[in-house]
């Protein structure tokens, strides 16, 4: 179980601190599909980075299958880091522009010295994962700027899955992609998730998507163990309900516009 308890994180900004996550608790079981929704700026990505051990929280604790995380980022043990993998929102930013797509997918294995780039096993793994996420082999030799956004996101997914994680966090995985690519990616994740008993946390601002794809959905604004609810929260909730309705409307239109 991936368990985050009372995670708090604030950033220094001009004119004081900005609290990104305020005492959020979240649990993700293996084999579970959990959705996490919330408006932009509500700290979803910060929480995701903390749960992937990439960012040290100010307060709170994180345990991965019983192992408590005390050090973060490069100081954290490689094996622990590999247990939770994060797929970022924008694939263009999340891939080093100087590595070929194939190199980028293999990079985690090489960086953590599980394999050397020359090993024959690398090619086998690379081709295997390329097939699973739906990349053709010729794309592996290209540079990131020579492939499409959707293809690059598939590569990011392969890069995350190649280290055999137990938990996968998808941070707005599909918000930059068109609907059909989005569906294909989620289908690929679903297949792998069922096969490997992967716990998937799907972070999105799209309530409808979360409701249809995930077994359970959490709202980041309700994760904090806060007492009482101010008027501001109620206003925000109203705004968010409107946003959700709007998003459902748009998705309905897109579905109709798509060829059968």
């Amino acid at each position: 179980m991936l368990r985050a308890e009372r995670i708090s994180k604030s950033y220094r900004a001009s004119g004081g601190h900005v609290v990104a996550v305020d005492g959020a608790s979240l649990q993700l079981e293996r084999g579970q599909r959990l959705g996490l929704v919330g408006p932009s700026g509500s700290g979803k990505s910060t929480l995701a980075q903390v749960m992937a051990m990439l960012l040290a929280p100010d307060d709170g604790s994180l345990t991965v299958d019983g192992d408590r995380i005390d050090v973060w980022g490069v100081h954290c043990r490689c094996e622990l880091r590999h247990r939770v993998q994060l797929v970022f929102q924008s694939p263009r930013m999340a891939v080093d522009p100087r590595l070929r797509v194939g190199e980028a997918i293999l990079e985690p294995l090489v960086a953590s010295r599980l394999l050397a780039a020359r090993d024959a096993e690398c090619a086998v793994l690379l081709h295997d994962w390329a097939t699973r996420v739906g990349l053709t082999y010729d794309l592996l030799e290209r540079f990131p700027h020579e492939v499409s956004e959707g293809q690059l996101q598939r590569a990011c997914l392969a890069r995350a899955l190649i280290v055999a994680p137990r938990y996968l966090i998808c941070d707005e995985l599909s918000s930059m992609l068109d609907v059909s690519t989005q569906a294909a990616l989620l289908e690929a994740i679903a297949a792998i998730q069922a096969e490997q008993e992967l716990g998937v946390l799907l972070i999105t601002h799209d309530r409808v998507l979360a409701d249809t794809w995930c077994g359970e959905v959490a709202d980041i604004r309700e994760l904090a163990a806060r007492s009482g609810e101010g008027e501001a929260d109620a206003t925000q909730r109203h705004a968010s309900a409107r946003a959700a309705a709007l998003s459902a409307l748009v998705r309905g239109r897109q579905r109709r516009a798509m060829p059968p």
């Binding site: 980075q49 992937a52 051990m53 990439l54 980022g73 490069v74 490689c78 880091r81 590999h82 939770v84 993998q85 994060l86 970022f88 924008s90 930013m93 999340a94 891939v95 080093d96 100087r98 070929r100 194939g102 190199e103 990079e107 985690p108 960086a111 953590s112 780039a117 020359r118 090993d119 024959a120 690398c122 090619a123 086998v124 690379l126 081709h127 082999y137 592996l140 030799e141 990011c156 890069r159 995350a160 280290v163």
Partner: protein, 299 residues
Amino acid sequence: MSAAGAALRLRGGLTQRLVETARRWPTYMRVAAGVLALLVVAGLLANVVAPLDDTAVDLDHVLEGPTAAHPMGTDEVGRDLLTRVLHGVRISLVIAVLASLAAVAVGALVGVLAGTLGGRADAVLMRMTDVFASQNHFLFGVLLLVLFRPVLGGTGAIMLAIGFTHWPSLARIVRGELLSVRERPFVLAAIGGGASRHRLARRHYLPHLLPAVGLAFVLTVPHAVFHESAYSFLGLGLEPHQASLGNILADGQRSLLAGGWWIALFPGLALLAIAMTIGTIAEYWREHLHPRWRSELEL
């Protein structure tokens, strides 16, 4: 070739890629590259191409204009000017390249230190850089020359003077690039994949900085050629008998009054050719590499 090698083979070797790049060059770039290649080869082969001794004095043929025996004429003590210019090209190019390397090394070091250490060390290093950048770097170079010439000799002092006055802009760029690349999400992704700090530096930071450093090096070379000849012209650089372009120009200035126009003209043209060809190539590279550096890398 192993299976992985086959899966990720590079498209074409370095030579092939260079040829492909050269094919896209506009005509002025081809001319510049050709002339520069000619100058470099002539400089490298100075001893072979010009078999005469560049310091051989021939008092029977003093201040002769261009003839078949001496295509660029002779100077006031009868030394063959073609030979001296060829040696001058070599000496000036070697000094300029080494001095630029020194400048780039200092700039990269300061930039990397400032970008890595951060905080107070960063502030101190960058204010120091500002102080250096606000000085007149030619005068500062003269000061360094005067101080270090007795210790290091002319050649060493010139390299030091150029190296220690041409680093601030590169230091700023390297620091900025380092700070910006560290914030990019692909670094977080690499950490998630298990990369160590060493791996991050080698695999992600360094390749990101190298183009800026390489470009700064090329941009500094023509500048260093001018500086070397200017210092030598002022009598602060190499020994007077050494055939650097600046020294020959200084000789030429004296001979101009005696009507010896060729002694100043030919080394001057050589100097111009070196600076213009390298400058043209660097300019082209800068335009195509990174538009944002256009304004920042004015050396």
